[in-house]
């Protein structure tokens, strides 16, 4: 085993960044999603749970938030509070298509 790998070195795996919108209810369950179904649902559920926890703790700290943004080098996550649940926008950032946060209603 591994003999062929000496001749056929694998190329680096590049993980696709999630792009789209996810809606989660107050329990963190996904209600709707436009993110590719190839993307692991558990990851999306995890993001939803993190966002809901941060909204809840902000309320406990007397700083209720209507919107939460996380800016990474190549991804923006924008979450809006929806009656206990949340709508989450996942926006990959690329040099060709830099995207700004979704406009406020």
């Amino acid at each position: 085993m591994g003999f062929l790998k000496r001749f056929f070195r694998g190329s680096a795996s590049v993980q696709q960044l999630p792009a789209g919108t996810v809606t989660v209810d107050r329990h963190g369950d996904i209600v709707t999603s436009t993110v590719s179904s190839a993307y692991p649902r558990n990851f999306l559920r995890g993001i939803g749970a993190d966002v809901l926890a941060l909204f809840r703790e902000a309320r406990d700290a007397q700083m209720p938030l209507a919107e939460l943004n996380m800016h990474f080098g190549s991804l923006h996550i924008t979450a809006r509070e929806l009656r206990g649940g949340a709508i989450i926008f996942l926006l990959p950032q690329t040099a060709l298509f830099p995207t700004s946060a979704p406009s406020r209603p």
Binding site: F43, D50, A53, M63, M70, F72, G73, A95
Partner: protein, 355 residues
């Protein structure tokens, strides 16, 4: 044993790769040059080769340069990175620096000023986490200014330290103006010389720029050095309590001047107490800030989304930003109506906080 460093050039333009390979092969340290015409190929090479320096284009199909840099920064934090782009855009420049690149050059500028580009690369290949100015690592800012003036050159030196940006205008070896931390002239020059590290760039001269500084540069350097020596010594009769009080007053005035509601500075756990100005009873906010920063860091790792730049939140009355500066977290609160350049203003506030 072969101690030649390896440089990897990533660009989707094969002609440019050939040109760059020829130019960089002539570097005095004779590095080994590797090339890749796609992000995927570059990442594959980085996995198999001990590369010292990556020179990366930004605009490429499929995986663009910023995505490559975000991945590289996570996987190979020791790798030096240089962006060589055809895009002359301040936003790309700041996004690249936010990803931790060591140098950002425009291709045309590199061709015009290839000697300085080569020197910068040599400096990056040689340095090992020394303090100093990126690009010319072994020189202090005073050295750089003296070099520019002695060579009777004309240029604009742009020096950045995190969010703080300063400029020096040099005309035929004379320092004619300086701008730093919101002030101009000699005062700006004095503030700038207190900077111990930063990023240094050489821009074309601006011959029509108004002259504000008339003193010879050596006299200014001497005066500033004397001021710094005096400031370093303890002031007689200045008690610790008095000094702390002065700091608090200064921070409050900074907050008021910028128009922020509050700032909470939170050291890493076990490294002291949080400091809050403009707000009281902050225990829960401190917990929230730490949790928000930890969540962002965890998501950045699991999604491979690059560095955490910031976390922000808003409601009808207020906007808050969480910024991380050298391990210390800052929660900055702003009124909701104060929306202009909030990030830049917060970064400046945070950068000035412990200075």
């Amino acid at each position: 044993m072969d101690k030649r460093h390896k440089i990897l050039i990533l660009d989707d333009d094969n002609d440019w790769l050939t040109l760059s390979r020829e130019m960089l092969a002539a570097l005095p340290s004779r590095p080994e040059i590797l090339t890749a015409n796609s992000g995927k190929r570059a990442l594959s090479l980085l996995e198999s080769e001990p590369v010292r320096l990556l020179i990366c284009d930004l605009k490429m199909p499929r995986i663009d340069g910023l995505q490559v840099l975000a991945i590289v920064r996570r996987r190979y934090p020791e790798l030096r990175t240089v962006v060589l782009s055809g895009l002359e855009d301040e936003e790309y420049r700041s996004r690249a620096y936010a990803l931790g690149v060591d140098l950002f050059w425009i291709k045309i500028e590199m061709q015009r000023n290839s000697k300085m580009f080569i020197e910068c690369l040599e400096s990056l290949l040689g340095r090992d986490d020394e303090p100093g100015f990126r690009g010319i690592q072994s020189k202090s800012l005073m050295d750089i200014i003296q070099m520019e003036c002695l060579s009777r050159s004309s240029s604009v030196l742009r020096i950045s330290r995190g969010p703080l940006v300063a400029k020096l205008w040099i005309q035929e070896g004379e320092l004619i103006d300086a701008e730093a931390e919101g002030v101009r002239g000699e005062a700006a020059f004095r503030r700038l010389l207190a900077w111990k590290s930063g990023t240094f760039e050489n821009h074309p001269a601006e011959p029509n720029h108004e002259r504000i500084i008339f003193k010879p540069v050596n006299a200014l350097l001497l005066e500033t050095a004397q001021d710094m020596d005096e400031a370093a010594g303890p002031l007689a009769g200045d008690s610790l309590e008095h000094s702390e009080h002065r700091k608090t007053v200064w921070k409050l005035s900074l907050l008021t001047r910028e128009g922020a509601d509050f700032v909470i500075a939170i050291p890493p756990e076990g490294h002291g107490e949080p400091e809050a100005i403009g707000i009281q009873g902050v225990a829960q906010l401190v917990r929230w800030t730490r949790h928000a920063a930890a969540t962002a860091r965890r998501l950045s790792e699991s999604l491979e989304a690059g560095l955490v730049l910031r976390v922000t939140g808003r409601n009808m009355e207020r906007q808050v930003l969480v910024l991380d500066r050298e391990g210390k977290l800052f929660l900055v609160g702003w009124p909701a109506e104060n929306a202009e350049n909030l990030l830049e203003k917060s970064k400046k506030l945070v950068a000035s906080w412990d200075s």
